[in-house]
């Protein structure tokens, strides 16, 4: 599967692991700060970075030989955003009616 030497994926795995733990600590810390309207976006951004790290490196999407894997992931996320976004067009504009 991977042509890397036996030690380099390990280094990467541990690096991602510590990054994920750090991200968790960061998100807890950021929640205790008053960032006004930015608390939620910051939390979601950190979560997205963590999720991306898991997907790219733990789930091997970064080194995926198949473009199809990436297409499936992006496709699913696209439809999820459609669900969230188009539904929000109703909720966001209902007060205007």
């Amino acid at each position: 599967m991977s042509e890397h030497s036996s030690s380099s994926p390990l280094k990467m795995y541990f690096a991602v692991f510590f990054a994920l733990l750090a991200g968790t600590g960061l998100t807890v810390f950021a929640a205790t700060l008053d960032l006004g309207p930015f608390n939620a976006p910051v939390a979601l951004t950190i979560a997205t970075v963590k999720a991306t790290l898991v997907a790219l490196f733990f789930m091997h999407v970064w080194h995926a030989s198949e473009k199809l894997t990436k297409l499936v992931v992006i496709g699913a996320l696209f439809f999820l955003l459609l669900l969230l976004g188009l539904t929000m067009t109703d909720y966001a504009t209902r007060p205007w009616s």
Partner: protein, 549 residues
């Protein structure tokens, strides 16, 4: 001395390879699983049809005099749930798709044969739950089970019905998963995407919808069941919930679901039109990409079911506009089919009669969808028989005709027998006449203001004439549906044995025996030709007809 002449040994095929109930119930052969589905969905078609019969009988007279109001609510609810979830959604993909997708791409089976069998068992479990629910009193929420009626007020057995649909939904998801992986990974050497039969493109697009949409209605059913069982308040306005949220989540699946029902039929019709015009499909790439476009666009329009429900009018504008856009890829297909027919060598065999029926009826159904997409008109005709007629034109005039056409076209391959052509043409005609007599009056009824889901229209007695016509049509339609069931069964014993390719059609499935051997092909095919190579197939035979090398 007499020499005993040995009886000719019937060639081994997927039907006679093994006998016995367990060889069927534990099969992983996609062709046998297709037949298991065929029997099951036909059974549910009868159940759904039975409810339709009772509905039409009630509507013969303006007074509500056949059944009580609550009973009538159960009739139309169960008619809808059974027909949609247990007949239409599986129909073509689970029967024709399961049978043909591996064969059309030159594979021995689907990617995950055991998951395929699991799909069927999930369908059966869901079906049994639905039957049980109906036997212990049924459900009366409408197939759309809107909150808060379904969560708080109905006294009927919604949770069981909802769970039945949930389980059947997983059957649908797994079928879609199997098809996507199979089509990506198991095509025969040389079979590039642009050489695939358009039936495959259609099923690929259908599978995408099944995969991405069904989970959302699944989780919606979980929420409704939880709210009903635990009194949560997610959709209850008294507790701060929003009933419209239910509708958003429900229709996010249920609109694309209609494309699950129609896309496979479009795939069937494409194959039939090419074969019986003896021509390549005009605009192959347009038809292929329009299937994908329908799958994607289909997810953008769901709130057109909610225009009068209280949603934001600005969002309604957006969804109205998108609903016009979604008509475009379907229109492209209709143009391409027509262009294929043009200057073709038309043969009016039964499959082609169904295809012609499809073309006309689907077009009418689709165009009336545009009426409904227009906000101004929708306000008047929503929740009337106009809508009922619109969707029956597409689902029955479109999808069911496509299904019947496909069953006739591939029957020789599936059973190894020819069906009686005379009876088949007669049945097609009866179906067409019966269908129009049933549903065209409903456009008029709706436009004139008759609401749907009413068992009593005695305050509008002038609607009786059209209702009587509709019921008469339904009877004719019923006869039209019964005929194929009778002669297909008859043909299994007494029909003429079919050759490998009785239609001289293009496609890998016709290059193997009828019925096929268990592993489909004696040798893995290698494809070096384009799809719909009818010129070569019809050329005088000085040159070799391309075969698998």
């Amino acid at each position: 001395m007499e020499i005993a002449i040995p009886k000719p040994v019937e060639r081994e095929n997927y039907l006679n390879k093994e006998y016995g109930v367990w060889s069927w119930l534990l099969t992983t052969d996609h062709k046998r699983i297709a037949l298991l589905y065929l029997i099951s969905i036909t059974f549910f078609f009868f159940i759904g049809g039975f409810f339709a019969l009772l509905i039409r009988l009630e509507l013969l007279t303006p007074a509500g005099d056949l059944v009580q109001a609550d009973t009538y609510n159960k009739l139309f609810t169960q008619h809808g749930m059974v027909m949609i979830f247990f007949f239409l959604i599986p129909s073509i993909p689970a029967v024709l798709g399961n049978f043909l997708v591996p064969m059309m791409i030159g594979a021995k089976d689907l990617a995950f044969p055991r998951i395929n069998l699991l799909s069927w068992y999930l369908y059966i479990i869901g079906g049994v739950m639905m039957l049980h629910c109906m036997l212990i009193g049924g459900v009366d929420t409408g197939w759309t089970f809107y909150a808060p009626f379904s969560t708080n007020f109905t006294n009927s057995h919604f949770i069981e019905a909802g769970l039945a649909i949930f389980v059947a939904g997983f059957s649908s998801i797994l079928t879609g998963l199997n098809f996507v992986v199979t089509i990506h990974r198991m095509r025969a050497p040389g079979l590039t995407w642009s050489r695939l039969p358009l039936f495959i493109w259609a099923h690929y697009a259908t599978s995408i919808i099944q995969l991405l949409g069904t989970p959302v209605i699944a989780v919606t059913i979980v929420l409704v069941a939880a709210e009903r069982g635990l009194h949560l308040g997610i959709f209850d306005p008294k507790l701060g919930g929003d009933p419209l949220l239910f509708q958003h989540l429900f229709w996010f699946y249920s609109h694309p679901a209609v494309y699950i029902m129609i896309l496979p039929a479009m795939g069937v019709v494409t194959e039939i039109i090419a074969c019986f015009s003896r021509k390549r499909i005009f605009g192959y790439s347009f038809v292929a990409f329009s299937s994908i476009a329908i799958a994607v666009f289909g997810f953008l329009v769901w709130a057109h079911h909610m225009f009068v429900a209280g949603m934001s009018v600005y969002a309604a504008l957006v969804f109205s506009f998108l609903s016009y856009a979604v008509a475009l890829p379907s229109a492209i297909k209709v143009f391409n089919w027509t262009a294929t027919l043009y200057k073709g060598s038309i043969h009016y065999d039964a499959p082609m009669l169904y295809a012609f029926g499809f073309l006309g009826l689907f077009t009418i159904g689709g165009l009336t969808g545009l009426f409904l997409a227009a906000l101004g008109i929708d306000v008047h005709v929503t929740d009337t028989y106009f809508v009922v007629a619109h969707f029956h034109y597409i689902m029955v005039g479109g999808a069911v005709m496509g299904y019947l056409g496909g069953m006739h076209f591939w029957w020789p391959k599936i059973s190894g027998r020819l069906y009686p052509e005379g009876w088949a043409r007669l049945a097609a005609l009866i179906v067409f006449i019966g269908f129009n007599l049933t549903f065209f009056p409903q456009f008029l009824l709706g436009y004139l203001g008759m609401p749907r889901r009413y068992y009593d229209y005695s305050h509008m007695p002038e609607f009786q004439v059209l209702n009587v016509l509709s019921t008469a049509g339904a009877t004719v339609l019923g006869v039209g549906y019964l005929l194929p069931m009778v002669y297909f069964l008859w043909s299994m014993r007494y029909g003429k044995p079919a050759s490998d390719n009785p239609w001289n059609a293009a496609g890998l499935e016709w290059k193997t025996a009828s019925p096929p051997p268990t592993f489909n092909f004696d040798e893995e095919p290698i494809v070096t030709w384009e799809a719909y190579n009818y010129e070569e197939l019809d050329a005088p035979h000085e040159q070799e007809v391309p075969v698998a090398r």
